[in-house]
Subunit: 347 residues, 2 copies
């Protein structure tokens, strides 16, 4: 049955695609084998992540980006990760209405993913959904997330190119620019650029990018094991040439999405970044590193599943002992790992 | 050496405490054994999480909460998780200045944790730091985080009572209230309550709480394995009696932190929640569940460390094959797990 869904996706059946996405979202048994079937057909789409704080105008901008790509004859799939509460159970109404004008266009497919219940698994779901859209054959896949928290940063790692959308006058800019955003941003869009303060936002970003390049090197000495990806994603300041073989400095593009100004320039900036990714050594390294992160994350999940099924009752017993303060949690975990290894030995 | 640090903490040496926190932050080898020594001395502090979007006035409110607790003769430790960029390397200046007025008070200890480099491990660090402050003997421990992303929600699980700070007129309220916030909020503070729109914010929250109680039950049927905690944290609407033995409905407290209005009421609401936690069956279940989550998270980390050291070279080989598209990532992970189990068998 799942192989029928996979074959339907590969033969561009839109009902099968919707079905496949639902299976991924629900983690229905066997969805991984479906993804195995789809995998060889993937790797062709250009995946763009769009993130930024609430109110920056992301949904309107995504709507305009879709129009630019469609005008160039490209098909577009959108995964919108919604910040809805657990019980609203769907997309924010306004966003869906804005996107609605593409609803008669067979070259555009939009799917919302509610964040309810998923917690840590959201970036995994988003990545697998991107893969299904890729196998279906969309030329462009946009992953829209709201906010710039750690979960959003994880999700944008699914993308080749991450577009961070800012707007002037969104309150305390320094607080809004959270840790990691510079690491993840490949292109900055300063939306609502007709508002007061737009030039100030651009200057702040320029300063951060310039400062960031130096400080990232300092940070990398402290956290040596983590910075390989960071350094590639947030390279030293280049001389501004995006075609540079080794460095990528995130360009800052001013736009007014509601008036369709600057949107074509944004698309051009994203496409330059994509070229850099495939042409430069550090671009290729980054692609490699992201795939490695994916495999490690999957491995992590698989190992826990294995341990839980092996140790089942013992975990509960250990928890009881910790709760009664008969053992500290650190010692309890050491004992569980030792038990897991012993039991595999005896299996 | 680390046992000297632990003993220093237990004998209330402030330099040892600072040292212990640094060891936890850096995950210096052996910090876990230090925590084992500290663990028996923990369990006495009341831990309050304070979170909310940038601009809601959290830092000012924390400053006022400290003053209320100090006036009642209680000592206060603060862990401030800062949203600084990776390279600013410290706290936001404004926050520190606001807190500065407690700097001459030996009954107050404030420590910032930068979010740089930590990623997934931040909630673990925060939890271990809380434990060190608890072992030192602080009566009250406040964990302040900025934002309401998944990472902040994880961090607030360190707390007994989570205070979510809102302010009227912070842009799109619906978007600002992200998934999970109702699950984590034990008390809502509507700060800046002298501003226009404060009553509207209160009404929105009341509606969400009322709706949430019904929908959480619906969600719990879909995601059966995850909702035990959720249901306890975000219970059905009670008849408004916070002393009810089984249900807790988050109270909404209006305040103006800058004018010190409503702050004592907030403290009273937090203390009622603490009493509910220890007196009611569902409160005790929640405490138990959070400890269980901690042990599971630690187990997760320990298992991965074990697998990485066992499989080392094979993981790299698998990654190369995935990168060359000779194998899909799902199959590669299955093969790695099988190899891990086989090698433990042979060990």
């Amino acid at each position: 049955m799942l192989s029928a869904v996979a074959n339907g996706v590969l033969s561009k059946n839109i009902a099968s695609l919707a079905r496949a996405l639902r299976l991924i979202d629900d983690r229905t048994d066997g969805y991984r084998s479906m993804l195995k079937t789809l995998f060889p057909a993937t790797g062709h789409a250009f995946v763009i992540g769009v993130t930024g704080n609430p109110g920056a105008g992301k949904s309107t901008l995504v709507d305009r980006l879709i129009a630019v790509f469609r005008a160039a004859g490209k098909t577009v799939g959108v995964i919108a990760v919604d910040p809805t509460s657990p019980f609203s159970g769907g997309a924010i109404l306004g966003d869906r209405i804005r996107m609605q004008r593409h609803s008669g266009d067979a070259g555009v497919f939009i799917r919302s993913v509610a964040t309810r219940g998923h917690l840590g698994g959201l970036s995994q779901s988003a990545r697998d959904m991107v893969r299904a859209l890729d196998a279906f054959g969309f030329d462009i896949i946009i992953v829209e997330t709201v906010g710039v928290g750690q979960d959003e940063l994880e999700i944008t790692k699914t993308a080749h190119t991450t577009l961070v959308v800012m707007a002037p006058g969104m309150g305390d800019e320094i607080q809004a620019i959270k840790a990691g955003i510079l690491e993840c941003a490949d292109v900055f869009a300063v939306n609502k650029a007709d508002r007061d303060g737009a030039d100030g936002t651009v200057r702040d970003l320029e300063l951060m990018i310039a400062l960031g390049s130096e400080s990232m090197l300092a940070v990398s000495k402290v956290h040596g094991h983590k910075t390989h990806t960071s350094r590639d994603a947030m390279p030293e300041k280049s001389d501004g040439d995006a075609g540079d073989d080794t460095k990528w400095t995130p360009p800052i593009v001013k736009c007014v999405a509601t008036r369709n100004e600057g949107v074509a320039q944004l698309v051009a900036a994203c496409e330059r970044h994509r070229e850099w990714l495939s042409a430069s050594e550090s671009g290729r390294t980054r692609t490699h590193d992201r795939l490695a992160e994916e495999v490690r994350a999957e491995l992590r999940e698989a190992l826990i599943d294995s341990a839980v099924s092996t140790l089942h009752g013992q975990i509960e017993q250990a928890l009881e002992r910790v709760y009664r303060r008969e053992v500290d949690p650190y010692t309890a975990v050491e004992q569980l790992v030792a038990a897991f290894q012993t039991q595999l030995n005896q299996a």
